[in-house]
């Protein structure tokens, strides 16, 4: 029997970035907020300290900070005709757990999506006509515009102390920044990071080809910074242990460094760790959420009643919780009806490599999670797609995050996978190779979706989430096109040899791509094609907000967290200034 607890005003499911920011906005208003987090309490000191943190095997290879998939994983298949099987070891993407969520071990590459991204369907149809799209694609508008989100992007970047060079302040182009970027009301809070050698080599080649290189915006900070919450961040030391690792230096923005200590200092905030939420409970007519059920780390069951429930458990976990709680109609890929699980998208990645002579020391180990130089000339809809017969794009950049040798020991094409030749090639090329990232959009399509697996269960006996995904043909054509452009830059970088690896079907669970899983509980203005309204409020259960990349109707070519942060502040603003004053549907 579950112990029924005293009601509180608000519960957040998860204490990652979205859960921390929302809780902070609500405790400020005097509400009693409980944060339920399945993972443990972790903090920079003592959990992320050097030298222990600099352990590639433990954290990067064995995924020491990620969700424990012995308890809970997902199943995956490429299409409806296959049987989904569990991802038994994380590889393709790496969900986080514990206080701070995935932002503890993210890279800090902090982008804003573009103006056109938010009105994607309208924009594409206007520019290329209604018949331009492959019939299997189902792109949509977000129901919110860039202009509405701009103050919230700004707020999130100032919370993170994001380092960068602005390209467009209030419509005026800025030298050194990205000429394609959407307008911003002011510059970045801190200047761009130092440019490492690999990035400088890329910049030179990109300039020579007439592209517009700019420093990647980074939430690994270029200098000491105090954010508007009074939290102090320090200069990144380029230690090369960033993605997949916690930051020992307080240089990477994560909930512990940017907001959580302030949140935890409120007496009306109560975090509870080791608490796995199993379900959101509804009242008898299914129009109101009344409580959440959870199990603590000792296996004891609790029911926590609350007036307002915030689902902030990471994109795919948000969708699973909706399905487990039977909120909203599940999407059916055969009929195209239903919404929960619809428009799941990912990121379409490809790459190129340049191999230099032995005198060119790249020193790939001097790196941070986000200190590259890149171009947006082939991002989004920044170029005319008219003759290309695909939509979407990719950014291209030299963004090397590390030189950790289990994962990084590049060899030129044609090198055997092991043996003497392999070994000599590794010794020869390790410090003399530059890798280029081609980071592409992911277009929502009819057959890609999320639902509950019919067979496999988690440690609590509940069905796992099932991912059905493959790269749509549109995205393969897009990735091929942009990878060719990356190849051109690689050639211009004038190493001894270069190679480009385009994206091929099918999506595989065995190779890390990104943890940019999006969609499944998408936002919009039509309840027939969206799960939440423009304020991220559930259409069916108005005292539930579902916040995270689950709200993206399709994925842009930029890393998602800047946009997730902006949506979080946008939702917080709506909750505080609209919902609390008049609890109920914010859009009818």
């Amino acid at each position: 029997m579950a112990t029924k607890l005293k009601p509180v005003d608000v519960v957040t499911i998860g204490i990652g970035m979205t859960g921390s920011i929302l809780a902070r906005e609500l405790v400020k208003k005097g509400l009693k907020v409980v944060g339920l987090e399945r993972g443990r309490y972790v903090d920079t000191v003592p959990d992320f300290q050097s030298p222990n943190m600099h352990d590639e095997l433990r954290y990067a290879v064995r995924k020491g900070m990620m969700q424990d998939n012995t308890k809970e994983t997902v199943t995956a298949r490429n299409n409806l005709d296959e049987t989904a099987l569990p991802i038994r070891r994380w590889d393709s993407f790496l969900p986080g757990t514990g206080l701070g969520g995935a932002m503890n071990h993210w890279n800090g590459q902090t982008f804003r999506f573009q103006v056109a991204d938010f009105i994607y369907k309208t924009h594409i149809e206007k520019r290329y006509g209604k018949n331009f799209l492959d019939p299997d694609l189902q792109i949509q508008d977000w129901g919110v515009t860039y202009d509405e989100l701009e103050p919230h992007f700004d707020r999130f970047e100032y919370l993170c102390g994001t380092s960068g060079t602005a390209g467009n302040i209030k419509g005026k182009k800025q030298a050194g920044g990205n000429p394609f970027e959407a307008w911003r009301s002011r510059g970045y809070p801190t200047p761009a990071m130092k440019e490492p050698y690999f990035a400088a080599l890329f910049r030179k080649a990109a300039n020579e080809l007439g592209y517009s290189p700019y420093p990647q915006p980074s939430s690994n900070l270029s200098q000491n910074y105090t954010n508007p919450e009074g939290m102090k961040l320090f200069t990144c030391s380029f230690c090369g242990f960033c993605e997949r690792f916690g930051c020992e230096h307080f240089a990477k923005s994560s909930p512990q460094t940017i907001i959580y200590p302030v949140l935890a200092s409120h007496s009306n905030y109560e975090p509870r760790f080791g608490c796995q939420v199993l379900k959101i409970n509804l009242d008898s007519d299914k129009k109101k959420a009344v409580s959440v059920s959870y199990v603590d780390s000792a296996g004891r069951e609790f029911e926590q009643p609350a007036d307002l429930i915030l689902l902030t458990a990471f994109s795919i976990n948000n969708v699973r919780m909706m399905l487990l709680s039977r909120i909203g109609t599940p999407y059916d890929p055969k009929t195209g009806e239903g919404v929960v699980g619809r428009n799941y998208a990912y990121q379409t990645m490809s790459s190129a490599q340049v191999f230099y002579d032995e005198n060119t020391n790249i020193n790939p180990f001097m790196a941070s999670g986000a200190n590259g130089t890149m171009i947006d000339d082939f991002g989004g809809d920044n170029f005319d797609h008219g003759k290309h017969k695909f939509i979407g794009g990719s950014y291209i950049g030299a963004i090397m995050t590390n030189g950790r040798p289990i994962e990084f020991h590049p060899t030129p094409p044609g090198t055997p996978a092991w043996g003497l030749e392999w070994k000599k090639a590794v010794a020869r090329h390790y410090n003399h190779t530059v890798a280029l990232n081609v980071h592409g959009s992911s277009t929502a399509s009819r057959g890609n979706y999320l639902d509950l697996d019919p067979t496999y269960k988690d440690a609590w006996g509940l069905p796992l989430l099932r991912i059905t995904f493959d790269f749509p043909d549109n995205d393969i054509r897009m990735a091929n096109f942009v990878t060719e452009k990356a190849k051109g830059i690689a050639q211009q970088m004038k190493g001894k040899t270069f190679v480009a690896t385009p994206r091929a079907k099918s999506w595989t669970t065995t190779v890390y791509q990104t943890t940019h899983n999006t969609g499944g509980a998408v936002m919009g203005s039509d309840p027939k094609t969206s799960v939440v309204n423009r304020y991220l409020q559930s259409w069916d259960v108005p005292n539930l907000f579902v916040v995270g990349a689950s709200a993206f109707p399709q994925n842009s070519c930029y890393n998602p967290t800047g946009t997730v942060g902006a949506l979080t502040y946008w939702a917080a603003d709506a909750i505080v200034n609209k919902y609390l004053k008049n609890p109920g549907k914010l859009v009818t």
């Binding site: 995956a76 380029f238 180990f365 040798p405 020991h409 996978a417 390790y430």
Partner: protein
Amino acid sequence: MGDKESKDSGLTRREAIIAATSGLLVAALPVTQAEAQAVKHAAKAPKAGASPGKKKNVYIFLNKNEAAFIEAAVARLIPADDQWGGAIEADVPNYFDKQLGGSWGAGERLYRSGPWKAGTKTQGYQLPYTPAELFRTALKAIDTDLKKTPFAKMSTADQDAYLHKLEKEDIDLGGVPSKVFFSSLLQMTMEGFFSDPVYGGNRDMLSWRMIGFPGAYGSYYDIVDKHGIKIDRAPLSLAEDAAGMIHQHPNIPAKQ
């Protein structure tokens, strides 16, 4: 790259660092201490091609036959050459023994509920075996397959041919597809060769010295924009104490 370790004295290397970085070297330690360590290391670092068999491994997991296969196999996957030792010199079999006998071998971070189905090649590992069970099962089958001449007794050419067969063909090793076994073998060999020495492989940071990876150093802020400089410092293990001693923990689990 070349065998700088055995040719240059520690002092020359230290001078090279200072010259290259104009004294701006900043690590987790103050400059002088870091430098002192670098010198100590270089003095201690054995010749790269140190002969195998000097240190006899005591195995806690691998039995005699298993150890014989692993030792012979990793020596082919990463052989010694005239400049640098290979997997044997780096103690990779020791890494295997500790990993397979520890929590990794027991299946940590492995979702282990059935039903078990082979799956497509995009679906990843789908066998019911833990790594320890996988190796035990496959190595037993290989012993049976090679009854006449055990792997360790073959010529190196025959060993390579057999490894290629495991890698490329669909051989059933007592229920373990040989391709799955081979990829586990290769992956663990890479791990044992390149990971921090605390895990029992990468002895004397051999692979790090070979490629020029400085190891667990904490900061390059002052030199990241000194483009193209040669970083020739002795690498640092995360478990080195102030005296430059590496403490090996037989089994640091990845799980928290």
